[in-house]
Symmetry: C2
Subunit: 510 residues, 2 copies
Amino acid sequence: MNCPETIAKWGVYELSVAGPADGNPFLDHWVRADFAGENEKVTVDGFYDGEGIYKVRFMPSFEGAYTAVITSDFGEELRVGFHVTAPQEGNHGPMRVTNNYHFVYEDGTPYFSIGTTCYAWVFQKEELRRQTLEQLKDSAFNKIRFCLMPKHYIHNLVDPVTFPYEGTPIDRSHITEENFMTGNWPYDYDNHFDYTRLNPEHFRLLDEAIASLGELGIEADLIVMHPYDCWGFSKMTRQQDDLYWNYVVARFAAYRNVWWSLANEWDLLREKTVDDWEHYAQILIDKDPYRHLRSIHNCIQVYDHTRPWITHCSMQRTDLYKTTELAGEYRVRYGKPIVMDEVAYEGNIEQGWGNITGEEMIRRFWEGICNGGYVGHGETYIDPEDILWWSHGGKLHGTSNERLKFLAEFAKTLPEGGLKPVKMAWDASCAVPEGEMMTGQESPSLILMYLGFNRPSFRLWTLPEGSYQIDIIDTWDMTITCAGVFKGFSHIDLPGKQYIALCAHRVDAD
Amino acid sequence: MNCPETIAKWGVYELSVAGPADGNPFLDHWVRADFAGENEKVTVDGFYDGEGIYKVRFMPSFEGAYTAVITSDFGEELRVGFHVTAPQEGNHGPMRVTNNYHFVYEDGTPYFSIGTTCYAWVFQKEELRRQTLEQLKDSAFNKIRFCLMPKHYIHNLVDPVTFPYEGTPIDRSHITEENFMTGNWPYDYDNHFDYTRLNPEHFRLLDEAIASLGELGIEADLIVMHPYDCWGFSKMTRQQDDLYWNYVVARFAAYRNVWWSLANEWDLLREKTVDDWEHYAQILIDKDPYRHLRSIHNCIQVYDHTRPWITHCSMQRTDLYKTTELAGEYRVRYGKPIVMDEVAYEGNIEQGWGNITGEEMIRRFWEGICNGGYVGHGETYIDPEDILWWSHGGKLHGTSNERLKFLAEFAKTLPEGGLKPVKMAWDASCAVPEGEMMTGQESPSLILMYLGFNRPSFRLWTLPEGSYQIDIIDTWDMTITCAGVFKGFSHIDLPGKQYIALCAHRVDAD
């Protein structure tokens, strides 16, 4: 048995016990532990990690003395004690919803989400995985969406380095662009996998990925299921799914930076019913004692986001033209944080979801923010080796990354508690601090106005009562220029360029 | 009496008779004429043109011998005969709706509408009016929207060269940007005009404008009423309105290139009710024997476009982001030609309707066309003398004009009868010839696909049965490149730029 004596708060406390390796340990045996400290009592399931090793993971939420009681179907009850120390620097705990529409780390540190997507980066060769982490370091991203299962899709026809189950993958070497796109190849593949025998090596790669992201201060938005499959992982039985879900929760829930995304494009998983999704959600409710954030991401049909287990809306845009501009409407409809994770990706591939310009990507970010939401990035540039950030990670080639760093720096200057959209102009998206202008009359402490693709050479603005310093933010050329202090009806000269935001700060006392 | 012996078909045949100049000739007297040829009998009202001259105008729709019988309350019945000759070159007759959603001249010549807007160009100084006509010659525009009344609005605070009524205008010299925009000046102006005494000089300028446009092959989309007023012209009584409407119809209906736009932004004419608009429409139905096209243009609220007197939808976009992309939906809703006359203007002024880029303007044109509609241009660049094309005419400064000429040339290669939108791709707007693909299955003779702001470096396209030559149209750089002949699943290399259209022509026999 391996039982460390100390662990930092919000760290992963891991116990290992030896047990039977014969038969099917995933089905035949169980292990769990009761953790108790002065302020919490938590029971968590363990999981089999191969070679006769069973593990239990726990994330303590308080400092001080803890005890653990380990039970299993194969060994004696074991008791250990350990001490939880102060959190490591940079560990602010798991993510919570605050002010209805926003996020905050458990320690109260504000979180302004700027996400990206690299669906299958974990299952690429080590060199590429390292490159992805290096690139993430050189970015503003504080969240990344990725899959727990490998991905079968166009630009994704090279096998992953590991599979989640024991077995042999079908041969995909004969699949061309044409027969993939037209569906003209045998989708009724033979089952080459044993869906009751998970592959611990695969999940260790995920452990490593989640932990590395945590060190970089990046949230790991785990996509538990997805439809881009030719191996049968999306068509397992309820029992097989249960085995998978329970394994995933037992293994990953103790990482403080985990978010659960039940699915990518849930509505394309034709074999699964709403009852299935509600059932998976119930597993999370029952088995994740840390209440990590939960979402379910759509392709065409948005899941019923009023469901109480959904903590925030993780959305793909459903209109080709209006994307993050709708965040304000979604706020009203769902009353939850709006994260528009998929608004098309910067790139030049053949499909409309992957060939917008950097300018359009950045425009969608600012529209989303001024509509009280958050936005996700992705990048899909044609690559000679078919390494596209969106799926494989690697290096960024686009123009939006620098502008997102600029946005992240600007976001640090915004008041804590987030922004809410207000109707102050018919031709611009405007936001004020959440909780202000509740009657619509008071003068807000700050107004952020985004002019988008319009390019006025000046703006006439009748300001609310009080004096406002107005900064002109060139969101593309990344400059902030103070235009002066204004009062009442104001004529503000502007550069006559696209992608300008105005930030008005109230400068007189109330 | 002045009665020409011949007139060309679809020309303006004008009779003049002398009559009383004392009292109020507009109210006190009437003149009308019955015209008869072998194929038509038409009765039209005349109008007073000042200095004791009364006129009756008629547009013959057939060649051959005609007679006219003129009656009035002040003179004897007069009879004249005249001969209608073949139409002048370039005169294709008045505009008609064809194929439900499209336009055609009465002689069967197809008309692909590319409009522009210069609201008050007629009431500018002569030099500027001449410049406007010169610029129109150097353009693709075959329709122009303009007002019959002068315009009071920001950038429109200099008095027009004429007023439609006898009287003295109020002094606007004290109006500033601020008090105009904030409404902080006396809108309850004194009435300085006699709304029963029209000013023939004003209307002669309009005659001249309509005739000049006709010579250039440009349709005159006459905006009869509008709300940008400080002289009371938008707040007249029902009787005063009737005088005005009847005068306008009697004076202008005989010009073959007239379209009636009942109002610009009808919903901002707060004094007028739906009953008023239906009443004006009835005047047109009763008094315009040529059945010129009739529309009514919105600001926010679209008029009920299912009304039978509305021949086509003249629309302002009601969404800041989605404009001409909605033309297809409007077609379904209204079953009439969709002319999106106001989709924001190329320029850099302070307001969101007047500061889009040339690229965005051109994008909106192509989206509109691929959605089975037509689009209108306008330009609003800040000018040291406040001469903005949108209102004053003059010279164009933008980048869209050249691209619209390119579009017009391309449009000549399209099949007659117009395009209809079809859903062939989720990420591109596609159109085929009107009347084709009625069951959705047949292979169309032509497919126009617009990729808009997306910029794929190639496109995968499973073509309908048959062989198609595919042309790559760079709508911005104005090139057309043949990509080759394709069949079935096709991989088409593209330049990876925005604003690309593909035009697929079926090249094998059916």
